[in-house]
Symmetry: C2
Subunit: 483 residues, 2 copies
Amino acid sequence: MAASGSRSLLVAANRGPVSISAGAAGREEVRRGGGGLVSGMVSALSEVGGLWVCAALNDRERAAARRAPDGHLAEAGYDTGGLDVRMLPLDPSTFARAYNGIANSTIWFIQHLLYDSANTPVFDAGWRRLWAAYERYNRTFADALAAEAAPGAKVMVQDYHLNLVPRQLREQRDDLHIAHFTHTPWAPPEQFGMLPTAVAREILTGLLGADHVGFHSRRWSEAFLRCCGRFLDADVDLAAGTVRWDGRTVRTGVHPLGTAADEIRAKAHDEDAEAGLAHLREVIGDRKVISRVDRTELSKNIVRGLLAYRELLRFRPEWRGQVVHVAYAYPSRTDIPEYREYTASVQRAGREIEQEFGTDDWDPVLLDVANDYPGSLAALRLADVLLVNPVRDGMNLVAEEGVVLSEHDCAVVLSREAGIADQYGQDALLVNPYDVTETAEALHAALSMPAAERQERWKRLLSAATALPPADWFRQQLDALDT
Amino acid sequence: MAASGSRSLLVAANRGPVSISAGAAGREEVRRGGGGLVSGMVSALSEVGGLWVCAALNDRERAAARRAPDGHLAEAGYDTGGLDVRMLPLDPSTFARAYNGIANSTIWFIQHLLYDSANTPVFDAGWRRLWAAYERYNRTFADALAAEAAPGAKVMVQDYHLNLVPRQLREQRDDLHIAHFTHTPWAPPEQFGMLPTAVAREILTGLLGADHVGFHSRRWSEAFLRCCGRFLDADVDLAAGTVRWDGRTVRTGVHPLGTAADEIRAKAHDEDAEAGLAHLREVIGDRKVISRVDRTELSKNIVRGLLAYRELLRFRPEWRGQVVHVAYAYPSRTDIPEYREYTASVQRAGREIEQEFGTDDWDPVLLDVANDYPGSLAALRLADVLLVNPVRDGMNLVAEEGVVLSEHDCAVVLSREAGIADQYGQDALLVNPYDVTETAEALHAALSMPAAERQERWKRLLSAATALPPADWFRQQLDALDT
């Protein structure tokens, strides 16, 4: 067992609660925060003097992490809001290979079923060099956690970037209580088995180093358990949600992350968002609004959403001139060719709708592919209908934020393949994300829904969206480590 | 119940045992046969004076089918070898939509997991017109079968083109004994559920109109049963292989089609094949031969096979100059853009290997993308190693024919995702088709295998390949209808 440190609670995540970048005139810009999930974990850590371990994501962060004693940013004078943050200065090539080459490509694509199997993936010698970098990247986290954790500490490992950490850590520190949470879906065995056999086993046994393995949906935890049965021949109890492996019983848990309503409401009413709202109101007038907000991500299904809107206008002509589709699709992973091509497809689909239906006084689509966060919050406030139709999604927080922010008791047209579909159920209008016609009909039903029914549904949706805010979500998992 | 006909045994298949095309100088050319499967069914039909119902596939066939009384070709003077063949003159647009638009696109892609889910499929209003054509095409078969079948007759419906026929037929003729056989894999529920909900149910209930639903592999029959459980909420008994549905119990059966050894051996020793063999021997000399023969089909994984061969030459340099990869990839579905692009990728991969390793006296790859059937049989006779690495395959008859024809006790590098992997098991070298490195290592192991081990394995492979030749395969299913 390695020498132990002094921290009783640790979070490990690729991204830290503090980001450092080059600001104006070469000055270093330090930002805290970013989202309810981070705030939820930060507040729990701060209570007990915990530690957040993260990777340096760019050159500035690497320089800062190297300058700081053992990477502890606060000790180098960075304002971390009182939180102890240890940033790991991985070498840029290892980081890029692990982050882009494996986590955001292979693992993301496997878990979201995005591969075009006739052509991708290709697991060759070059890919194996990327995988070796992912192992090193995980090992760097595990080593830092092993050095910092007090005897019997709780270590909360976040997401698909760090699938190998639980086992790597347990091998050094069997005294720790380790949890892992996957924010993506989990692939069924048929897709997970596309991975090289040794790698599939390495990911599964990596997670099984934890005591508790968490997911947003029972569908994902069951898929994980089925993979353990198939590829490890482990003793799996689907009903109990447990796996026997390597002499230990590992529990899975379902913790559907909700939204921090007050925090998102505050942001949606700041000056920038109000300005965005005023602008949108002027353009849209008193027409109905179908809103969507997504990263331009292959799994988000923005093109089929636009095609569904086109079918709505084609086959339900009564809506022409009466509705505007506000689609915020902010840039994502623009260094990956498939993502650039996808953005082009989104723009093309938007243009085609303009050309087919646009008139002098009506723009049927307001498509924004820039990064306009306040504008996107304004779009959610204006929504009569919220469209969330991913081909597959771990949870989908926009589906929650949109319900919280809508000032029109919005109806939600929701892909059944999103984790949040478990919570929303029939209060949303559930659709098959590949079925453009069904989605178009659901948009029609949502636009046509009597106000009273819409309000009833919306109230229940709101209650579901806010049932497990981030701080409670995190607390649940801490408690799960005690039992 | 419709009026009944006089046939006690009927086969329904998209393609008939007779084909009619425009020959030289505009003369009509009539050809019989094509493969052991057809011969097997024809001989069983001929014994009892049965009927084969098929679609007219081109203008010539449509004209012939219209000319013949009720489409019975023999009555119009066509030489059907004594077999009664009824050819259905579907209108060209219905046929093209059903065959290309649904069967070979949607259903083939779903069952082989070929969709690139971020972009395809798109189930929109246009797609629904294709689906309506598929329903009409199936209905035309069902009506013809209902009119021709004697009371209590057996009707053997073939493959994914005719998924709706069993139910459409049972609704007219509840007295019949109906079997359906699927020659493709079956998709797990996660993928099958990409289909519009009503269509997924229509396909499943279509097949459940049969008494017996057959597959090549238990993996496919189980996937079918799981789909019935998921999408129909039917009462499924996985162990017994049965489904209760609509007041009836439908049985599934696993009938792994073998090859007709004598028939394929005879073809591989005809004059054209001998000429092909002589030519290949001259080019290859006494080098080792890795052979593959496939349609250029997205599921056949030819590109990754070439990439594996490239890794073999890169990382096992002892094979440079010592081995030739003979790859016959004959054209397929060249009217579909994805298939043309795939052919280009195959050619590009072949060229890259030539450029990296070719020398003045050694061509590392002999890639033939023309349609040279005798040459492909010669390639199988020459094989020291047979490479069959589909991403997914109902059975794979080349894996069987290659073993029968090899004159060198060939070793088989086989994708575990092919149905035949159930029969071959560890006597083949099983690989993950996405894992190029593992495939390269399996090629190395196959080339390096001691002769005695190779012969032992080959004998068992041969016995597996010929265990259930087509006539027995068909008889098994007829018998299954009696129990």
